[in-house]
Amino acid sequence: MSEEARADEPEPQPRPADEVDADRVAADTVAADKADDDKEARRAGWRLIGATIRPERWWLATGILAGLAWTAARVTIPLLAAAAIDEGILKSDESAVVRFAVLIVAFGVVQALSTGLRRYSAFRIALRVETNLRDRLFAHLQRLHFAFHDEAQTGQLMARANSDMQQIHVVVVLLPLTSASLLTMLAVMVIILIKSPGLALLVLVTLPFLNVAATRFTRKIQPVTLELQEELADLSGVVEESVAGVRVVKGFGAEPLQATRLRREADSVLERSLDAARLRAGFIPLVDLLPTLSLVAILWYGGHQVINGHLDLGYLVAFNSYVLMLIWPMRMLGMLLAQASRSSAAAGRVHEVLATEPAIVDVTGSRPLPEGPGEIRFEGVRFGYGGVAGPPVLDGLDLTVRGGEAVALVGSTGSGKTTVARLVPRFYDVDAGRVLLDGVDVRALRVRDLRRAVGIVFEDTFLFSDSVRENIAFADTEASMDLVERAAELAGADGFIDDLPDGYDTVIGEHGFSLSGGQRQRLAIARAVLADPRVLILDDATSSVDPTKEHEIRSALLEVMAERTTLIIAHRPATIALADRVVLLADGQVAAEGTHDELLITSPRYRDVLAQAEAAEAAGARR
């Protein structure tokens, strides 16, 4: 039965890996064409980041000013130290020494205050951007139509709101921090150049290598890290299946066999780790060595200049400090460049989601739902999940459900039963024809009104990690306790709710109390009837209920359905019997209609469908 429902719902199926591999190969060949799209996506990503930063512009200004102050203070301090040595210590002028020392402390205070401020603003802006963007993304996703969510995988959307946001965060942090660092670098270079051009050349010639080395290292280590991750995943796969299948392992005495497999995986991990270590062993010492070479150059060349009287001794010391100041900006620049590409791609992906317009929205001049008995009419409805171009699920469907009537929709897999139900609350818009509720095209109604008027119980009863009460009162959080209890009673849920540890306040879900399928089902029904909808849709609502318990729900349903238009998607005869009329769907149209008994006699197709459903269910139950 779950198979059948799946065919009705365009739930994206996980694809076999072969297909994905094939796609990847194909993707590589068209990579060139996609490069332009990629560039465009990145540009859109940057625009999105820019637009999200804009409200934070005062903090940004603060951060940049603080960065300027920080740079100025930091660059001045070695100059003061140099002056202290040259003017004070070497000339034995103690008051000058004290004066400069005090000045150094004063600049130290400026440096400290500004570094706090610039860091605080950088991180604050980034957090604000991340948080706002995530907020916006979530709100947008909540508004996006069913068809979008059918296509998108939850995991993918989670990644948009999680890892992609982090990528954006990182680049927003790095931008102001790196710009201050770059400023420092610039100032330092200028000072060295002015004081001793020859020395500047010697010092600066080694530093770019640092950047080159860092870039090369990153490029080389990335694939190794990736391989290592894969090896680790394989290894944990062996562990996982050995633990899960421990009975089999022990039953056959296959412990040594599994241990050998693990050893093999562990050896691969070892090899990859050593590969990574070799790369690090080439890079990390180099990172220490290159600045040291600059220091040697300062000592030697600078020293000779001092001896020759071209340079003051104090500057020799100052230059040492400057070289140390240059290391970080060099490395951060590399980091920023690498990060910028990752972040803009991430922002591009987020932008793509945000740029998707919700398809189901109120039309201009939409009107409130008039009073009515809840009559539903399908007129020449054509609909397919692939849009107008795709194959139709419904093709010229005409169907009228009178107000207060209960109609069972029956059909084989893929006949469009669920689709019919989903067009009523306008989860999708028809491709042709129209769906009318009490004489008004559903597209002309305010979506909110329409959905309030239609209560639906989905096949997979999704409940929220909340109290029972909040779950029932989902449609209307303001609903009084009386109303909640009445809904529960109608759905036949009051009995078990009273037995729950905290009654209606019992928290259910992943971190709370876990309910049986039937109990969840009844809560879903209570949720659907709380707002007293005009139309009630039961999408295979009894399917997850144990057949022996079904009669309990059935009596509840009878009460719920009274004086309400009801669409029941079902395949169990007992559930079908709840309806006044049965509609058999086939080939996207109504194939036959009548009472259950009539159809059993007149329609061989109806008999087939029921028999199939029974067989499927029997298999499912045994499974």
């Binding site: 130290a81 202290a84 210590i89 034995s92 020392a101 005090v102 150094i104 130290g108 400290a112 706090g116 605080y120 991180f123 948080t131 907020d135 996703l141 909540q142 996006l144 939850t154 990182v170 944990s236 562990v239 996982e240 899960a244 009975r247 089999v248 392992v249 039953g251 056959f252 005495g253 296959a254 412990e255 599994q258 241990a259 991990v269 070892l270 780790s273 050593l274 990574a276 270590a277 070799r278 010492p285 060595l289 040697v296 030697w300 020293g303 001896i307 001794l313 010391v317 970080w328 989860f427 959905r451 999704f462 929220f464 990690s465 949720r527 707002a531 057949p547 269910e617 029997a618 139950a621």
Partner: protein
């Protein structure tokens, strides 16, 4: 910019901290485990100390260059200083390279061995252990815990030791250069140490909070996405969005708290550095004037200051990593200390090739719990086919587990061919007695790999023989790549029936004398069902079989039926005998007949 690493990037929060006593114990155990590597470790340490010495030599050479070269205007002395500095820089870099390679080799080899050791130990543990512990936690021991150690080995360890050496080394060197000036400089160190400890503690606390809030926010996000259809059906988008905003802002607040903490710490540290410089210059200048120190010494001190501050910050950042690794090691040691409930006795004997199975007065309960089997006595003759029937929870599966010695009885004994299973070698036990579980559990690999699981040393020909013995040659040939078909994780590429067939072939290859079968409850499509049944029939031929029967037909076909009820052997006899007795079996039979096929 050395304050660059204090943000939320690459932070580890630790919620398990080791007590001092635990840490001592962990260290002692670690020392034991590392004993085989002690030569290499000593060498690596020596190299690391030498490398640190090279690093620390720099400022001292600058001092020499200034005092002996610049002061008297001696270009030769300056050249000497520069050349020595250059050589030492290269030597230091080379030593650094060696250190990284050696530590990686020792550390990663150690981890590889630790992985294997923990895994072997894990597999040697009794089934009771696996039924007690959650799969996820056991897998975590082998993955996240060891990976925490891996991070320590690959980056943390060298940095940690080296920073400690630099810090201590720098203090020693500045005292050697001028103890007077060193005393003044040391004034700035304690505040920085204290601040760093404060920072580590506070940021750890704050990051734990961030982690929690991220978790909550992700949960809301996930729920909002998974339930988006329900949300829209009930028109609740605004409320759900509001709720998300709440958890999202909570995450922001927690994060901002970490920013506030580092916005206090980093300014302090930067200021301390500058203050130290001012102190060295101020005091140093005064000392130079009185000929207590030279200008070169003052310059060297300014340079050494960096070597005092950096390590303190680095150490405080690395501390969490070390803590985390310690906690991981402790958990691994705990696992290694768990004793297996099923072990081989010294002087254990091989089980005989054939013989009767005798369950004698067996009483058994899981852990310290109530007994689930009471005084069960059940003899099974060689070649006999015995069906165990009874209601769910009666103790059938438990009895089967005792027969395969997945557990040892509390009282009584299980014998095969006259040998108490507890006195048998585990290897011979697993050869003679094989359990085929309900659903065919497959491992990643080919069909052939999975069959070979029954007997690791089997040749391909023997595998083919086992397959043809069950009459499955054509069936397996029909798979996409025949026996070389990759079954993927859990055999997801095969159908349920095919998985069962592989599982049966595996048992055929193992060729046991006694087969313990837990009959599958799931039904297959009629075609496969027949193939499985035929294969099963062939597998059982000529073997002693104990089968947990879920189907009437299976019970009927058995030589004898044992009815287990509430942990006791209620009835024992042939199908006809038991029906005639009109007891437990007769009523079970009646219920079976009445139930529709669907609930079989």
């Amino acid at each position: 910019m050395r304050g660059g690493g204090g943000g939320p990037l690459g932070q580890i929060a630790v919620d398990e901290t080791l007590t001092r006593a635990d840490a001592t114990k962990v260290l002692r155990r670690l020392r034991e485990l590392l004993r085989p590597y002690r030569g290499q470790i000593a060498l690596a340490t020596l190299l690391l100390v030498s490398q640190t010495a090279c690093l620390l030599a720099g400022p001292a050479l600058v001092r020499y260059g200034i005092d002996s070269g610049l002061g008297p205007g001696d270009g030769g002395a300056l050249n000497t200083a520069a050349i020595v500095y250059l050589v030492i820089a290269f030597v230091g870099a080379y030593l650094g390279r060696l250190v990284i390679l050696m530590v990686a080799r020792v550390g990663e080899t150690f981890l590889r061995d630790l992985r294997e050791r923990v895994f072997r130990h894990l597999l040697s543990l009794g089934l009771d252990f696996f039924e007690r512990e959650k799969t996820g936690r056991l897998v975590a021991r082998m993955t996240s815990d060891i990976e925490a150690l891996q991070e320590l080995v690959s980056v943390g360890l060298v940095m940690f030791v080296q920073n400690a050496l630099i810090f201590v080394g720098a203090i020693v060197v500045i005292f050697l250069l001028s103890w007077q000036l060193a005393l003044f400089v040391l004034v700035v160190v304690p505040p920085v140490v204290i601040a760093s400890r404060w920072f580590r503690r506070e940021s750890n606390r704050a990051y734990l909070e961030v982690r929690d809030r991220i978790g909550q926010n992700l949960a809301t996000l996930q729920e909002g996405l998974a339930g988006v259809r329900v949300v829209q059906a009930f028109g609740r988008e605004p409320a759900v969005t509001r709720r998300f905003r709440g958890t999202n802002e909570a995450q922001y607040d927690a994060h901002l708290e970490t920013v506030r903490i580092s916005a206090r710490y980093f300014p302090f540290v930067e200021f301390s550095g500058v203050f130290g410089t001012a102190l060295i210059i101020g005091i140093g200048g005064w000392f130079v004037n009185r000929d207590i120190v030279t200008v070169g010494t003052v310059a060297a001190f300014v340079l050494y200051l960096n070597n005092l501050f950096e390590p303190v910050q680095q150490l405080s950042q690395l501390y969490n990593l070390v803590q985390q690794s310690g906690a991981a090691l402790q958990k691994l040691f705990e696992l290694l200390d768990t004793r297996s409930s099923i072990t081989e006795r010294p002087g254990a004997v091989d089980l005989p090739d054939e013989g009767p199975l005798q369950v004698e007065h067996v009483t058994f309960g899981y852990g310290d719990g109530e007994p689930v089997l009471h005084d069960v006595t059940l003899p099974v003759a060689p070649g006999e086919r015995l069906a165990l029937v009874g209601p769910t929870g009666a103790g059938k599966s438990t009895l089967a587990k005792l027969i395969a010695r997945f557990y040892d009885p509390r009282e009584g004994r299980v014998r095969f061919g006259g040998v108490d299973l507890r006195d048998a070698t585990l290897r011979s036990l697993r050869r003679r007695i094989v359990v085929v579980p309900q659903e065919g559990f497959l491992f990643a690999g080919t069909v052939r790999d999975n069959i070979r699981f029954g007997w690791a040393e089997a040749t391909d020909a023997e595998i083919d023989d086992a397959i043809s013995a069950l009459g499955l040659t054509e069936r397996f040939d029909a798979l996409i790549d025949g026996l070389d078909t990759e079954v993927r994780e859990r055999g997801s590429r095969l159908s349920a029936g095919e998985r069962q067939l592989v599982s049966l072939t595996r048992a055929a290859l193992a060729d046991p004398t006694l087969l313990v079968l837990d009959e599958a409850t799931s039904n297959l499509d009629p075609g496969t069902e027949r193939t499985v049944e035929q294969a099963l029939e062939r597998l059982m031929e000529g073997r002693t079989v104990v089968v947990i029967a879920h189907r009437l037909s299976t019970a009927e076909r058995a030589d004898r039926i044992a009815v287990v009820d509430e942990g006791r052997l209620a009835e024992l006899g042939t199908h006809e005998e038991l029906l005639g007795r009109e007891g437990c079996y007769a009523s079970l039979y009646a219920a079976w007949m009445a139930a529709p096929a669907a609930t079989g």
